[in-house]
Subunit: 155 residues, 2 copies
């Protein structure tokens, strides 16, 4: 599997193509086949209680999972259109400052099956999770269902 | 129950206290005891596929449900701290342009029970839904669980 682009390159891609990521101050801390870690500061994401707006927390989690999956598919030589079908967010504690979102790659067998189905049928579905932390404390849990459609099937 | 503030007043409140709402270009189309309707344009919420980023769709839905609940509690004379506990979003179709989010008040008996529990115990939980539309077509469905804690219990 080919390598992921450098973190700075992924950050520039996100800021250019998903401008809300720039408005939220999203930074790419790490991104490789094992997972993606993003951060966002409090200020642009603050709410009336001086904690992070739930919509920002949710959006950064969605972005983290999407970024991992998007660049994983490219690295696997199967660039695809990705569609989020459904997501759930559990908000565990108020987020009082800068926060991080970490999407860890699912088990190798799950990813392998997903890539095999995509390669064979041009379409596959996968569940991807992400965890949000603030000062090392888990503050939210995200799970999203994404469908990948191979680009040569639609373009 | 007292009236809701005017839509323009609510919009100014959102833009001031939740700056991401301004970054997303959120407008308040209507807001009263029966529900809240917000809109957001494509441009600041666009993704790399030229449709609305799922994180924006999700954030506008969260904001719509929150706004209805926040101003309903004030109108009922029970201003409270609101905490989102959990939410689910089903993305039904790509959103190719300006979209709207509509949170309709739950059934009268549900709201009554919620306000009664809050008044009696200082804390109550409610499920609030919202529907996203684009050009009149339903494109996403949101459900969120919110806990209200009476302000005189915490401040």
């Amino acid at each position: 599997m080919a390598a992921f682009p450098a973190s700075g390159e992924i950050e520039a891609y996100l800021h250019k193509h998903i401008p809300l990521s720039a408005a939220m101050g999203v930074r790419v801390l790490a991104a490789d086949s094992t997972g993606v870690r993003l951060s966002a500061p409090l200020e642009p994401n603050i709410n009336h209680r001086a904690t992070v707006f739930g919509g920002s927390a949710s959006a950064v989690a969605i972005l983290t999972a999407w970024a991992w999956l998007h660049f994983t598919l490219r690295a696997a030589g199967q660039p695809s259109r990705l569609v989020i079908q459904q997501n759930t967010v559990d908000y565990l504690a108020p987020i009082a400052g800068k926060f991080e979102a970490h999407c860890a790659a699912p088990e190798a067998a799950t990813l392998e099956k997903f890539l095999h189905t995509l390669s064979r049928h041009g379409r596959a579905r996968i569940e991807v999770g992400a965890v949000l932390t603030c000062n090392g404390k888990k503050v939210a849990a995200f799970a999203g269902g994404y469908v990948a459609i191979k680009l040569d099937r639609i373009e």
